[in-house]
């Protein structure tokens, strides 16, 4: 036994399948709809007209529209991670077991406490918030803001992670037609005839737009057009795909719904299309406008087109007694549709003095009363329409008659959907004859070639008759911006322009009166057309009211800016595949897996993951770092240095080029030797450092920092391609070709000599700052005697595929010597003990090498290098620049990194003056005390002086200025 809900009509409904019932829940109630229903049609079928509360006054609201322009029926859908707020009931297909709930109400939709705002509405006019919450100032933070925050926002954000998958895809088409109505399909056929590929996007699951509903024979015409297009090569028809925005150079973004309503099938829920369109044809149709009469927001007042959609498409009666109110012929279709469905139509209220076209005639023939020159003075009812009070349209609202009804179907005319045309700069003209803004064909958006790249077809172009001669001719629309024409303030104060944001005719008038002449300012001041509306329903009526108040033509007022997206896009769809493990590329060295199995605690360095330390059972990171440092200082350790940049620079002009790139001389570096180099930008600021090895007469290998590899390679190519393009130099970034392992500590040589090999590693054959190549542990290797730890140290580069093999061979060979893997933090501490700078710690993009006492690495002989001229600028040679020193804490506590040393006096803002800051700070296990480096005004000439570092808790830490080299000043260890 099937149960028929009270408002489901016995027949009709071209989209529904009466054989399949769909159970769902609304605010906890168990209801049933049919396959093919939207949530809105299913709720209406169950007699549920009340679907939400307005944002500001919490007024009860029912659906106004049947499509994406719906301002009121926004629901929360789903549960947990799949909960989504603000979903349009009118466009969301009903699915089995769907859980839906109303928003912006508490404790319930029927009895909402926030509705008290409605009673207070006279004290909440436009700009209320701006005017009221300014004074007294302290109240803002402690009283107003917390209250406003709690009530801000429509719907609530989901709290759990979104479990669904999303994706994106790229498409290319010569012509993209947006809109699968009769105009779009016709335009697609013409485009296909002209040649090239054609992609047609339809936001809905059904083709045809309004044509099948509004016109006899409409469905047949659509079916014929589809059949024709489907038979053509190069034509793609894509449903459920909303073109949300058009961007520069014909880049169109669209969202395809794949599994919105069946998330468990395992395919992506939505797909973001990034489409490169040769040209775009916007066949986006038109939206019906509301009429502004008093209490036009009471549930049951709906767009006339929506009323007939619910009847014709879903077999749902929004009510039993439907009054139609209009300024045009099209709305008569609603009266005829309702009448044919067996519903009562007590009257059609037409503001026009005359209505004698074919459609009005058909209505009269059907026995429907047509009242011309008539208006609605006000709607009766609070949570539901109970009737309408009529008056003369040309009058001031004096009642002439009352008609009982439960639905008012209104039509204020139609507005082309011009969003897509406008997104990228297309301009509009006001069409006085049709009372609408439509695209100006002389000022289209421009493509890369400077030519217009968007054309408009059908209703979107103002051609409301584009379905052709399927139907009767229609008489013109009469502009009606306020109903009745001379409505007094008391009525205008109840005429809603923006139903979602509670903006009324009097709010816009007040804005104009207060001097808001620009439509953009009025929008922000009143909130007209904000949030999800974006000018769909409220726009034209609001502009017309503003123009009237400003006493200027509508064209002079213009429109607000149409910005994408046309309908909201979820952030997950924009992120697409970039979530969870694919959020961003994670770069792994060839030894990554070993680190993982040996308990590495990771440090992100750019996209790389490097072991920060290898804590053992019972150790925290801090303890592990100390153990690793002591192991290296006393014995031997290994560091995975594979992430260091390795760039080959080769050619007859390579030496000359490197002399320009580095501050010191690289052309004179002998083959077989290594030299530490600094690289600056043209501003003179230090940008990278590293060891350069000369491999052969015309080939150098430049090591960069981990983060610098790609950047420095790009920097080299930039200068070679754009400045010194006649120099014969080739570069190759070989960073990933090699694994590189630092073996450091007094026993480093012992370990290496235990490996079989062809390289003489003795101090005599391979002294500090030289390199050699050959075989090590059976692997082709290049060994560099360089040290960032201050210990005897070798960095060994081998082909990446054999990096792990070498690493394991080292650990096997050094096991009895206590060989210890160490991470980046041990490396950082050890280099700080040695007073070595670190790019990104001692430098921040405003530091020149001279600040860091690195004058020894700046060639005095070279006529030029990148940054040389800048380092002569007056500010760079200013003796008061902060310079690098060591800092010795007077207590046993580590001074926080970044702490400032204060000076006497205060600056213009009343803040303490500063004279330096800490750039690196650690506890040194080697020395058993805190060490730090910092930049201090006149620092190097102030050895022994004590600086004050105020802490956030009010205490002051003190440190003495000392030499930045804390450990092995003579370098006997690294030279050993």
């Amino acid at each position: 036994m099937t149960h028929t809900p009270p408002f489901r009509l016995p027949a009709g409904g071209r989209r529904i399948d009466r054989a399949w019932q769909v159970p769902f829940r609304f605010d906890g109630r168990h209801l049933r709809g049919l396959t093919g229903d939207t949530i809105a049609s299913a709720l209406l079928a169950n007699g549920q007209m009340l679907m939400g509360r307005s944002f500001k006054y919490h007024r009860p609201r029912g659906p106004m529209a049947s499509g994406s322009e719906e301002p009121n029926a926004l629901l929360g859908l789903g549960q947990g991670g799949r909960f989504e707020p603000n979903q349009r009931a009118t466009t969301t297909p009903l699915t089995h077991g769907m859980i839906t709930r109303s928003q912006n109400c508490w404790p319930s939709l029927e009895a909402d406490i926030g509705a008290i705002n409605n009673w207070l509405s006279p004290v909440f006019p436009a700009g209320f918030y701006y005017k009221t919450f300014i004074h007294p100032r302290p109240f803002w933070k402690h009283v107003f803001e917390p209250i406003i925050r709690r009530s801000a926002g429509l719907g609530r954000a989901p709290t759990d992670p979104d479990p669904d998958r999303y994706e994106q895809a790229y498409a290319f088409a010569d012509t993209v037609v947006v809109g699968g109505g009769i105009a779009g399909l016709t335009a697609a056929r013409e485009a296909a005839d002209a040649g090239g590929t054609v992609l047609v996007l339809e936001q809905d699951g059904h083709w045809g737009g309004r044509t099948p509903t509004d016109h006899d024979g409409g469905q047949a015409a659509i079916d014929a057009a589809l059949a024709d297009l489907r038979g053509r090569k190069g034509v793609t028809l894509r449903r459920n795909t909303m073109a949300t925005g058009l961007y520069d150079h014909g880049y169109l973004i669209a969202r395809e719904s794949l599994a919105d309503h069946d998330p468990n099938q395992g395919i992506p829920r939505q797909r973001l299309w990034r489409i490169r369109a040769g040209r775009v044809i916007a066949a986006t149709g038109a939206l019906e406008r509301p009429l502004s009469f008093a209490c036009n927001d009471v549930p049951g007042v709906m767009l006339a087109s929506a009323v007939r959609d619910f009847i014709a498409d879903f077999g749902v009666a929004p009510g039993r007694r439907i009054v139609v109110v209009t300024n045009n012929d099209d709305a008569y279709r609603t009266a005829l549709t309702a009448h044919a469905a067996g519903l009562e139509v007590p009257a059609i209220i037409d503001a026009r003095p005359l209505a004698d076209g074919a459609l009005p005639q058909a209505a009269r023939d059907a026995g429907i009363t047509v009242l011309t020159g008539t208006a609605i003075a006000k709607v009766k009812g609070a949570k539901h329409v109970e009737g309408v009070v009529l008056c003369s349209h040309q009058g001031d609202g004096r009642p002439t008659q009352t008609i009982d009804c439960d639905v008012v179907a209104m039509s204020g005319g139609w507005s082309p959907v011009v969003h897509l045309y406008s997104h990228c700069g297309g301009k509009l003209i006001w069409d006085e004859g049709q009372s609408m803004f439509r695209p100006d064909p002389d000022r289209p958006p421009l493509g890369a070639d400077g030519q217009g790249n968007v054309t408009v077809a059908g209703a979107a172009n103002g051609d409301l008759r584009c379905a052709g001669d399927l139907e009767h001719p229609e008489a013109p629309t009469m502009p009606v911006w306020v109903m009745p024409a001379r409505a007094p303030y008391t009525l205008r104060a109840k005429m809603w322009l923006d139903f979602q944001n509670d903006v009324k005719v009097t709010d816009v008038e007040l804005a104009a009166q207060e001097g808001y002449a620009s439509v953009e300012h009025t929008k922000r001041y009143t909130t007209l057309g904000m949030a999800t509306d974006q000018g769909k329903l409220s726009n034209i009526n609001g502009l017309a009211v503003l123009s009237n108040a400003l006493n200027q033509p509508i064209q002079a007022t213009g429109t607000t800016t149409f910005r994408p997206p046309y309908t909201p896009l979820t952030l997950a769809t924009i992120a697409a595949e970039a979530k969870d493990d694919a959020f961003q590329p994670l770069r792994k060295t060839p030894i990554h897996a070993w680190h993982e199995t040996h308990g590495a605690s990771w440090e992100p360095v750019g996209h790389w993951r490097r072991p920060y330390a290898y804590p053992r059972a019972g150790e925290d990171r801090h303890t592990a770092v100390h153990r690793e440092i002591l192991a290296v200082r006393a014995g031997v350790g290994t560091l995975d240095a594979s992430t260091l940049g390795k760039i080959i620079v080769k050619g007859p002009d390579a030496g000359r080029f490197l002399d320009m790139l580095y501050t010191n001389m690289m052309s004179t570096l002998p083959v077989g030797k290594c030299r530490y180099g600094l690289m600056c930008n043209e501003n003179g600021f230090l940008m990278d450092d590293g060891v350069v090895a000369r491999l052969s007469d015309d080939t150098w290998l430049c090591h960069t920092t981990t983060g610098g590899a790609d950047r420095i390679h790009g920097h080299m190519e930039d200068w070679l391609q754009c400045e010194w393009w006649d120099w014969k130099v080739y570069t190759a970034n070989l960073t990933e070709q090699f694994a590189q392992i630092a073996v450091a500590g007094p026993k480093a040589r012992d370990v290496l000599e235990r490996l079989s090999g062809t390289i003489d590693l003795s101090a005599e054959a391979l002294p500090f700052m030289q390199w050699a190549e050959g075989e090590l542990a059976g692997i082709p290797a290049r060994v560099f005697r360089i040290s960032f730890s201050g210990e005897l140290s070798y960095e060994i580069a081998v082909p990446a595929n054999r990096g792990l093999e070498l690493w394991e061979a080292l650990h096997l060979a050094g096991a009895d010597l206590g060989i210890t893997p160490y991470g980046t933090e041990a490396m950082h501490v050890m280099r700080a003990e040695k007073g070595f700078i670190m790019i990104g710690d001692e430098t921040d993009g405003t530091i020149i090498p001279q600040d860091l006492g690195l004058d020894w690495a700046i060639s005095k002989k070279k006529a030029d290098y990148i940054g040389k001229r800048a380092q002569r600028r007056s500010h760079m040679t200013d003796g008061t620049r902060w310079k690098l020193v060591g800092l010795e804490s007077l207590s046993d506590k580590v001074i926080p990194d970044g702490a400032y040393a204060v000076a006497e006096g205060v600056n213009g803002n009343g803040q303490r003056k500063t004279q330096g800051r800490v750039t690196s700070s650690y506890h040194s296990p080697t020395l058993g005390k805190p060490i730090a480096m910092g930049l201090v005004r006149h620092g190097p000439s102030r050895m022994g002086q004590v600086l004050d570092f105020p802490m956030p808790d009010g205490t002051v830490m003190q440190a003495r200025i000392v030499d930045p080299v804390f450990y092995d000043k003579e370098g006997s260890r690294q030279n050993g």
Binding site: R165, A169, L237, N240, G266, A732
Partner: protein, 172 residues
């Protein structure tokens, strides 16, 4: 359950050599040493086991069986003797994947800003796949993708995700 749009397979055992030179001057010698004709701009020439790809106006990439790598490095270095040029073994710096199957073009189209379906044979497109650099060309039954070694896991993951069953790009 439907099948994946394509199978994603990591390809091992390939040698790769980056060549930089003035191709107008050194092209003939390089072609002879590589055993393949110098490809046109954005093109690739192949004899089955070896592919010579155009990477930039002064750069080529020779892809060949690992076993032939050492000899090829010697031959190419020899070919550039006396000429300003650079020969570098980059075999270990790369990760190679084959994307094979009826929906291979869909997989590529989900990740790279290229018209995958229209990509001709013998064309190598350097671009990005999601957030990592890639070079893509057609092979029998699908595409071959070269990315960086360090992001191999990422590349494998996004390719596999893009190929999940039932997610083809054909209109539904």
């Amino acid at each position: 359950m439907a099948e994946a749009l394509a199978t994603i397979t990591r390809v091992a055992g390939l040698g790769m050599i980056t060549l930089r030179a003035d191709l107008d001057r050194a092209g003939d010698a390089l072609a002879e040493a590589a055993g393949l004709a110098i490809p046109d701009t954005t093109g690739a020439t192949t004899d089955g086991s070896r592919t010579l790809a155009w990477m930039s106006p002064d750069e080529l990439l020779l892809i060949l069986p690992q076993a032939e790598l050492a000899q090829a490095l010697d031959d190419l270095t020899q070919a550039l003797m006396g000429e300003h040029g650079l020969v570098a073994d980059v075999s270990d710096a790369r990760a190679v994947f084959d994307v094979i199957g009826a929906g291979a073009a869909d997989v590529v189209a989900k990740l790279a800003p290229v018209d995958a379906a229209a990509m001709p044979q013998g064309h190598l497109r350097r671009t990005r796949m999601a957030q990592t650099a890639a070079a893509i060309w057609r092979v029998d039954g699908g595409f071959r993708v070269i990315g960086f070694r360090s992001t191999a896991d990422y590349l494998a993951l996004i390719l596999t995700n893009a190929a999940i069953p039932g997610s083809g790009l054909a209109p539904r």
